[in-house]
């Protein structure tokens, strides 16, 4: 296990040095908030953030992704025959991903990479990515990662973990992929025991700072149809305006739509993130819609995350506790409270 200490300036330089081998993505201050951007694309990296507005989900699972291309030209010998769109699977590194967002990728992996079908695009994007986590010295008030199997310095799901020690970063290699990147990163010095100890103190202090506890222990034993018919869904759904912000921001929401787009005689088959909050999501060709009511859609989102996923995969809940949906819901629907309703029902 490699442990190196970089001054913050040297860390940026090291990333710049790695940019020839990896496509590097880092948090960048973007107006009032931070988001992941490609290194060298305008503003420089900024590691002073609580969490990015959007998780880096789109770097593994693009919000809009070309699947196939085809010609609609009748004179073309291969008219109407779909060809896979070319992709860039060269190595990429997501630097500064929070442990919850990396955990989310593992939650989602069970869907995209299952024993029966492997989603070729998700799997290949994922496999070409090195996840360099940045532990959370100051978790947000809405964070509840510790309730769902994570933690502000949880190294699970990461290739490298960064500890922000003030003037320096301690970088710890956790996987072969991570070790390989650290070997190529210039300008660091081997970590001494004092730095390692500082890192441990930091991690413990951060964990103690998360005081939201969300109960999920009884979800598995609940009878699905009893939860489905529970009366609290009326209250949960009452204020919802079906805006879809929660599903858009959620690092574990994976639903997508497939659409064909045509320009002239050239066609593309594209997949786009979709949302169970929208009635069109389930509208049949016949006009029938099994989820035409707002309540049904709100219930679907929470039941999927906190019951269906739990039953199907035996891998805990489909939530990494990042708290984005809590912070950004315009009507203050709170998944922590819904989990409590469900768990205590």
């Amino acid at each position: 296990m490699t442990e190196k200490v970089f001054t913050k300036e040297n860390w940026i330089k090291a990333l710049e040095g790695l940019a020839g081998t990896y496509r590097i993505f880092t948090p960048v201050k973007d107006g009032d908030f931070h988001n992941f951007k490609s290194l060298g694309e305008g503003k420089g990296p900024d590691f002073n953030f609580q969490n990015t507005r959007l998780s880096p989900k789109t770097l593994i699972y693009p919000q809009s992704e070309r699947m196939f291309e085809y010609s609609l030209d009748e004179n073309d010998s291969e008219t109407n025959i779909l060809k896979e769109s070319p992709k860039d699977y060269s190595p990429q590194a997501i630097v500064g991903i929070r442990p919850c967002d990396a955990h989310a990728m593992r939650i989602v992996k069970l869907n995209f990479d299952n024993p029966e079908f492997r989603d070729p695009w998700w799997v290949q994007h994922f496999e070409s990515t090195v996840l360099i986590g940045l532990g959370c010295n100051e978790p947000c008030s809405t964070c509840f990662c510790t309730s769902v199997g994570g933690g502000p310095f949880n190294e699970y799901a990461l290739d490298i973990m960064l500890y922000d020690l003030g003037k320096t970063f301690l970088a710890r290699g956790l996987t072969e992929k991570g070790e390989e990147l650290l070997k190529k990163a210039e300008g660091g010095t081997p970590a001494d025991s004092a730095a390692v100890k500082d890192a441990e103190i930091l991690a413990t202090a951060a964990s103690n700072r998360i005081n939201t506890s969300v109960p999920t222990d009884k979800l598995k034993e609940k009878v699905v149809n009893e939860l489905f018919d529970a009366s609290f869904w009326d209250d949960v759904a009452f204020a919802c305006i079906n805006c879809g912000t929660c599903t858009f921001l959620c690092p574990t929401c994976w639903c997508f739509d497939i659409q064909d787009e045509v320009l002239g005689k050239q066609g593309d088959r594209i997949r786009n993130w979709d949302s169970c909050m929208f009635p069109l999501f389930t509208l049949h060709g016949s006009g029938h819609n099994p989820r035409d009511q707002k309540l049904q859609r709100v219930r679907q989102r929470f039941m999927h995350k906190l019951k269906y996923y739990v039953d199907k995969y035996e891998n805990g809940v489909q939530c990494s506790g990042c708290g984005r949906c809590v912070r950004h819901c315009p009507v203050n629907i709170d998944i922590r409270q819904v989990a409590e309703f469900m768990n205590n029902y």
Binding site: N80, I81, W254, C255, I258, T282, H284, G285, S286
Partner: protein, 280 residues
């Protein structure tokens, strides 16, 4: 890496208009690459995504039987963007098929049993596949009595009329064709709703398994008839429809509880459905 979203290219070999309102057409497809036909090995009850480049994909039950070689067939109702376009396509044009997808009727459980098939309207497609499959000489002895109740609103809306007439003549399958109503004086089959005819013609649930496919209202009124006959929910088999995209249980839209209709279905027993949220 294998790509489960990539359709096999096919040529439209034959188009047949099935109903007098011209809303239902059967499309026969031939694979452009002969080896794809082997990869597309299917079992009656399964479906596929028909892929019309420039328009999109639609999940449609396979109407042909695996015992029919050299082509696959689908009967398509004209309802939306893709189906309207498909209905105007011509024989010889190239498009795609992705599949086979989903599960199938419980053929292993059906062996040695009386098979009761109850179908309504244009939901008869995978039932046609099943009947053709069962009456093949190499398969017929695996099943006991085969009874079919099939109805449509009027004679002109019945699918596969030539085949229905042929099956009527056979003595190894009991056909009960019906229409809701007709003013045709020469109509020689039943008149009445499917649940009513089922009640008249099917007299026993002994050693029997029932497959029911049709519009929701037909299913709703057929279910009590079968239960009265003594069919336990495990032996009432239904095939569901749902809006689908990926067809392989990944895109997330066709779930009922934790089950995806595209991958865990479309075939479910009534016993299974009773354990699942009633959201379909």
């Amino acid at each position: 890496m294998e790509n489960p979203y990539l359709p096999y290219p096919v040529r439209i070999d034959k188009i047949t208009t099935e109903t007098e309102d011209r809303n239902l057409k059967t499309f026969r497809f031939v694979f452009l690459n002969p080896e794809d036909e082997e990869k597309f090995a299917y079992t009656p009850g399964q479906f596929a995504e028909l892929s019309v480049p420039g328009k999109g994909e639609i999940p449609i039950g396979i109407a042909s039987s695996p015992t029919e070689k050299g082509f696959v067939a689908f009967t398509v109702n004209k309802v939306g963007v893709v189906t309207n376009y498909l209905h105007n396509m011509k024989e010889g044009e190239v498009m795609g098929i992705r599949g086979p997808l989903g599960n199938w009727y419980p053929w292993k459980d059906m062996e040695g049993k009386n098979v009761i098939i109850v179908g309504g309207g244009f939901a008869f497609t995978t039932l046609r596949s099943s009947i053709i499959y069962m009456i093949q000489p190499e398969n017929r002895s695996k099943f006991e009595d085969i009874s079919v109740v099939y109805g449509a609103r009027s004679p002109g809306l019945l699918l596969y009329r030539d085949e229905l007439a042929e099956w009527e003549k056979r003595d190894d399958i009991n056909m009960h064709i019906t229409v809701d109503g007709t003013d045709d004086p020469d109509w020689k089959y039943n008149v009445g709703f499917v649940p009513t005819v089922t009640k008249e013609k099917i007299t026993s649930s002994e050693n029997a398994i029932a497959i029911v496919c049709g519009p929701p209202v037909m299913i709703k009124f057929t279910q009590p008839v079968l239960e009265e006959l003594g069919f336990p929910p495990e032996r009432i088999i239904l095939s569901l429809e749902m809006r689908m995209k990926c067809g392989i249980g990944i895109c997330g839209r066709c779930n009922i509880g934790e089950k995806y209709v595209c991958k865990d279905g479309p075939v479910f027993s009534l016993a299974q459905l009773k354990e699942m949220p009633g959201e379909y």
